[in-house]
């Protein structure tokens, strides 16, 4: 049976105070299990990034509770949250956010260092991770010498540093052409299935729906629809579980 990785219990996030408050996330309850590739879609401003920030422990919910492997994290303080992120979460961004002064290898190494893996071991693991995302030949390239797709692969390798059980990606294909973008999404899908990881991805691209196990749709801060993949629904109706 798949373990539950992340639980959101009526989580809300309100920005600002007084007259200018924005309710970005409104009473969202979710239960996400390992090994699944989940898409989050929805119009601009619907609260997708905010939800991702909450799940990634970069923001604290205004209301509600958040559990990571059954530990409540919504109450933890600023000193503990970095430790949680280090251990459980890998981030992938639309704009890659690689360190321009560091090579592909060094970018991944840095993340490994942050997770307590240092020295030669870090170097070796970084090379393995880059090979895993198909960049074994580009180890010593600086980000400026890599294509968009290659940069996102480096970012993926970096997110995989320390083997976190959760990958959170916010429009990782937003800066890429559709073919390259699809390759990245295929890689993400594979990373969830073969390594039993929860991959949660925000996207605007409906063409990659077929790759996901589940699609959530958000509107005005709430999850308004939850579609499972067809085969899974069929399986569910036969009374089986994945």
């Amino acid at each position: 049976m798949s373990r539950t990785v992340l639980v959101l219990d009526r989580v809300s996030k309100v920005y600002g105070e007084g007259a200018s408050t924005v309710i970005a996330v409104r009473d969202v309850s979710l239960e996400l299990t390992e090994g699944r590739f989940v898409l989050l879609m929805g119009p601009s401003g619907s609260g997708k990034t905010t939800l991702l920030l909450l799940m990634g422990c970069l923001l604290k919910p205004t209301r509600g509770r958040l559990f990571l492997f059954e530990h409540e994290v919504s109450a933890l303080d600023e000193r503990t949250l970095p430790l949680l992120r280090r251990r459980y979460i890998g981030f992938v961004f639309q704009t890659f956010n690689l360190f321009p002064a560091l090579t592909a290898l060094e970018n991944v190494e840095l993340a490994l260092n942050l997770k307590g893996i240092t020295g030669r071991r870090a170097r070796q693991q970084a090379a393995e991770l880059l090979a895993r995302v198909g960049l074994g030949e580009r180890l010593h390239f600086l980000p400026r010498d890599l294509s968009g797709g290659e940069k996102q692969r480096v970012a993926l390798a970096r997110a995989l540093a320390g083997d976190p059980p959760i990958l959170l990606a916010d429009e990782p294909t937003g800066m890429l052409d559709s073919r390259t973008g699809r390759q990245i999404v295929e890689l993400l899908a594979e990373l969830s299935r073969t390594e039993n990881r929860l991959v949660f991805m925000v996207t605007h691209d409906p063409r990659v729906r077929d790759l996901a196990d589940e699609v959530l749709v958000m509107e005005d801060g709430s999850i308004v629809a939850r579609e499972r993949a067809e085969e899974e629904m069929a399986a569910a109706s036969r009374g089986e579980r994945r």
Binding site: T80, A111, L114, A161
Partner: protein, 392 residues
């Protein structure tokens, strides 16, 4: 709970080294900005070094005779302001001092303002120094030309090589006129330049009485050597209590009193010191601005680091490491530049005095400057919006 084991990795030395190496790489990546910060620090270092060096040299001038004379104690007229403003008092005190326990020897020593007649008919203010030629206590210490025993004879004088131009380029053997009296130059000294700018003229105590306005039977200073086995402080105490109408200082006290006078009372030192402080301030602003601008430029990277698990403390470490790296390189190159400037200055006759503890202090100030310059950047990091890295 679940996080215990993580904490040890978080504290690892190697991990700190990673942050420092990232700081270094970021720094050298923005080359122009790095150079601007360096120039800011170099500016501050050079300005501080030169100003403080000249100031200290200036100050040693104010006590040059005191520092070179091997007396332990100086007996002076009451409430003297500094060495150059010496006032006469009765020679009688000399004999009283010699009778005091713990006094190995005591000598008369004269310092009096006087006038030197220039070849063009004008007058130059001079400071006549009179010492005992038999014991040579208080005599000039570095003789370039001439025989010091000559000062025993009638109005034979020594002048310093640094003052020759000021006195109209007299040579050894030349006859000159001092307050209507004929004097002859018997030799040349080195390193005996007065702080007031009025040239020192060295001669015997007896000649000095005639060549200055000090009345006979008076002295300006009494130099005292403390006998072995006696504490300087105790002998000083005894003399101060038994001799009336005079003050007694240790060599250090009198030296510092003379320096401090010119430093504080006249404001000359204040002006120099404030230039040095200005350098420090401008340096801080330039370094602060470049580090701040660099932080703003790298905000996305700091945000990314936070997202992948860095704590605020880690980010501060990067900023502080950057500040320290520029401080170190800026100090080293700034000192190199200072050496070049000092070399040029020395050729122009301007000396500096920079003991190791001062160089260390300037290094300390440079580090302090760079670290305080990064405080705004650190503040900026604490306010970092986590969503920043998710925006395009």
């Amino acid at each position: 709970m679940i996080l215990r084991e993580e904490e040890s990795a978080w504290q690892a030395e190697e991990f700190k080294a990673t942050m420092v190496s990232l700081a270094k790489k970021n720094l050298f990546h923005d080359r122009v900005r790095f150079l601007v910060a360096l120039i800011g620090i170099q500016f501050a270092v050079v300005l501080m070094t030169l100003q403080i060096g000249f100031l200290l040299k200036f100050m040693t001038n104010a006590s040059v005779l005191i520092d070179h004379i091997e007396a332990d104690l100086w007996i002076t007229a009451k409430n003297l302001k500094n060495f150059d403003f010496g006032l006469p008092f009765s020679e009688q005190k000399l004999y009283e001092a010699r009778r005091a326990p713990g006094v190995l020897w005591a000598e008369r020593f004269l310092m009096g303002f006087s006038y030197w007649k220039m070849p063009d008919g004008g007058q130059e203010t001079i400071q006549v120094i009179g010492f005992n030629p038999e014991t040579r206590i208080g005599a000039p210490w570095d003789i370039v030309e001439g025989d010091l025993t000559d000062v025993k004879y009638f109005n034979q004088i020594f002048i310093d090589e640094a003052d020759r131009a000021r006195l109209g380029f007299p040579r050894v053997g030349d006859e000159v006129e001092i307050i209507g009296q004929r004097a002859r130059i018997a030799g040349i000294t080195r390193g005996a330049k007065s702080f007031t700018g009025s040239p020192f003229v060295f001669t015997s105590f007896k000649n000095a009485l005639k060549l200055s306005f000090i009345p006979p039977g008076q002295t300006v200073y009494i130099l005292v050597k403390v006998a072995p086995g006696y504490a300087v402080e105790e002998v000083k105490q005894y003399l101060a209590e038994t001799l009336t109408g005079v003050d007694v200082y240790t060599k250090r006290e009198f030296s510092w009193k003379s320096r401090r006078y010119w430093l504080l009372v006249t404001g000359a030192g204040i002006a120099l010191l404030s230039t040095a402080l200005l350098g420090l301030l401008i340096g801080t602003i330039i370094v602060g601005q470049t580090i701040y601008a660099s932080t703003i430029d790298h905000l996305r990277e700091f945000g990314t680091l936070k997202a992948i698990g860095a704590s605020n403390a880690d980010l501060y470490r990067i900023i502080i490491a950057q500040a320290l790296i520029v401080a170190l390189i800026g100090y080293a190159t700034g000192m190199l530049l200072s050496r070049i400037f000092l070399h040029v200055a020395r050729r122009a006759g301007l000396e500096a005095y920079l003991p190791p503890e001062v160089l260390l202090a300037i290094f300390g100030l440079t580090v302090l400057m760079c670290v305080s310059a990064s405080i705004i950047s650190i503040y900026k990091i604490t306010k970092l919006d986590p969503a920043l890295v998710f925006r395009s």
